[in-house]
């Protein structure tokens, strides 16, 4: 058995978690969280860490040249850089509403990238 100390990133509280894993690195238990999301975070972090992605894409004919986007759900942590790179090739088209899917199922990971805001046409 091994314990790992980590900070939960789900909300600004940043609770310090003490996570116990077995000899195979599998999740056993966690203490220190003040909400259930913290427990889930600990589980994910030792099993398959996930992160939200926020970035920007070009937008054609928009009030601004770039549209901020966000992943609808967390993505596998090790795929974040690849997803960010994939967004370079994307060009959205104005007008766009907050929540509109800009890239569906990015890199086949089952997560959509959606618009963070509305963006009017120029």
């Amino acid at each position: 058995m091994e314990t790992r100390i980590m900070n939960c990133i789900n909300c600004p509280m940043g609770c310090e978690l003490t996570v116990t894993v077995d000899e195979h690195g599998k999740f056993v238990s966690v203490t220190g969280n003040t909400c259930p999301r913290g427990a889930q975070y600990a589980k994910d972090e030792v099993t398959a860490p996930k992160r939200m992605l926020t970035s920007t894409v070009r937008i054609k004919n928009g009030f601004l040249p770039l549209l901020p986007v966000v992943s609808a759900k967390p993505l596998p942590k090790e795929k974040i850089i690849a997803c960010a790179e994939a967004l370079r090739a994307v060009e959205a088209a104005a007008p766009v509403k907050a929540g509109d899917v800009i890239v569906g199922n990015i890199l086949g990971l089952g997560v959509d990238i959606v618009a963070s805001r509305e963006m009017a046409a120029k």
């Binding site: 909300c11 970035s55 009030f63 901020p68 960010a84 805001r117």
Partner: protein
């Protein structure tokens, strides 16, 4: 020139101004004007494309633009609320007239029965902390770089050193990495980081970006463009220790070394300013030293959570509306609120009495990181209220609600501090 007359005029259309506008409306104001100098509403949130906003206020995790959008949605179809963008306020006068300018209307004057100041803050600069060296291209404050990267589509450089581990610096460390740049290091002069722990994890640790605590930059190299920086360890007085210098090669230096509330208009008005917060002294209604003038958000004191900004602006908007309607009773008495032992700043700095029946929310910052402390609110030497705090950090604002029953007991000077620990 006849001035247009409003119930409430709000200077600044970021989250504070937008929340104040909606709150004023909810509290009965019929004619509200928001003046915003940028090309759209939303303030600094529009460039904060990362998430972590809104967990308290909207019960949902939003990005900065998402939070701004929700604030804008609340006010956009209300005929009572007028907004002007691309409009710069030049002067605010004691008679509540405001001189502003924009390309369409030219220079014009408006007047409010109440005024809410929500101008936000600016970034501390290289010149303010006096980093030696030349003045090459490639030195940016983190927020200025953030705007270019996230809204205009340009990178400040390719190989980046960040000074300061406040949230803006941490967020930009991740952002620049995602944009394909190399972030060489983050340097922090204090022995502890100033950003949210979640940001240390997801912006530095995730990308193996080294964080050097108790370090600072002693020289910027490069005459026309940055070529590198000299870094040194600092002592407990934050002075560079000779002999500890090393060089970091880079073409860009991003500065995240503090935010300063933008109170030029407040100064012009003659408002009383607090030396530590660098913002106007306000009471629990967020009314300043001049009746009818309210302030909220980063212009009062720098926040780290926009949710608290909205809470504060809700207060300012509500009482501005009351002031406009003539229903805000003048103070019978005012008591000072002083931050002491272990608490560096506390807002409000004053209580407008009588305060019966009103809960009062205090926003405060600890002077140093600590664990398992107890907050004590005392009045005339007597302990009115305590609250155990498991962890305090200067970088994380503490919000404490004093229940209405307790506020009724406040009759003289209040102190807010940390209870000395048992030996």
């Amino acid at each position: 020139m006849m001035a247009d007359l409003y119930d409430v005029v709000i200077v600044g259309g970021g989250p504070a101004g937008l929340s104040a506008a909606y709150s004023a409306y909810e509290n009965g104001a019929k004619k509200i004007l928001v003046l915003e100098r940028d090309r759209e509403l939303g303030g600094i949130l529009q460039q904060c494309i990362h998430n972590g906003f809104g967990l308290h206020h909207f019960k949902q995790e939003l990005t900065g633009p998402g939070y701004a959008g929700r604030c804008i949605d609340l006010i956009k179809d209300k005929p009572e609320i007028e907004t002007l963008v691309d409009t710069m306020v030049l002067e605010v006068h004691p008679d509540k007239t405001i001189l502003a300018v924009n390309p369409k209307r030219g220079v014009f004057t408006v007047q409010g029965k109440a005024v809410v100041l929500t101008m936000g803050c600016r970034e501390r600069t290289r010149g303010a902390i006096r980093i030696p060296g030349e003045r090459p291209a490639g030195v940016f404050t983190a927020g200025a770089a953030q705007r270019m990267v996230n809204m205009e589509g340009y990178l400040p450089g390719k190989k980046i050193v960040i000074l300061g581990s406040g949230d803006i610096g941490l967020i930009m460390a991740r952002r620049m990495t995602l944009e394909g740049c190399k972030v060489v290091a983050d340097l922090e002069i204090c022995p502890f980081s100033n950003g949210l722990t979640r940001n240390i994890v997801q912006c530095l640790k995730d990308y193996n970006i080294p964080l050097y605590l108790s370090h600072t930059i002693t020289k910027i190299h490069g005459k026309d463009r940055v070529t590198g920086v000299t870094v040194a360890k600092v002592d407990e007085k934050m002075r560079p220790i000779a002999g500890t210098e090393f060089e970091l090669e880079c073409d860009t230096l991003l500065l995240s070394v503090g935010l300063i509330p933008e109170n030029e208009l407040s100064r012009g008005l003659g408002l009383e300013l607090n030396r530590l917060t660098r913002g106007p002294v306000v009471d629990q209604h967020r009314q300043t030293s001049q009746p009818g003038f309210f302030a909220a958000g980063n212009v009062v004191h720098v926040h780290d959570l926009v949710d608290f900004v909205s809470d504060e602006a809700d207060i300012a908007g509500k009482f501005a509306a009351q002031e406009a309607a003539g229903t805000l009773a003048p103070a019978v008495k005012s008591v000072e609120v002083e931050a002491v032992s272990g608490i560096r700043t506390c807002v409000p700095q004053r209580l407008h009495l009588p305060a019966e029946g009103e809960p009062v929310r205090f926003f405060m910052r600890a002077a140093a990181p600590d664990r398992k402390v107890t907050l004590e609110v005392k009045c005339g030497g007597e302990v009115l209220f305590t609250r155990p705090l498991p962890v305090v950090k200067p970088s994380e604002m503490i919000a404490v609600d004093l229940p209405a029953a307790k506020t009724a007991l406040m009759k003289e000077k209040i102190t807010v501090g940390l209870k000395p620990k048992e030996a």
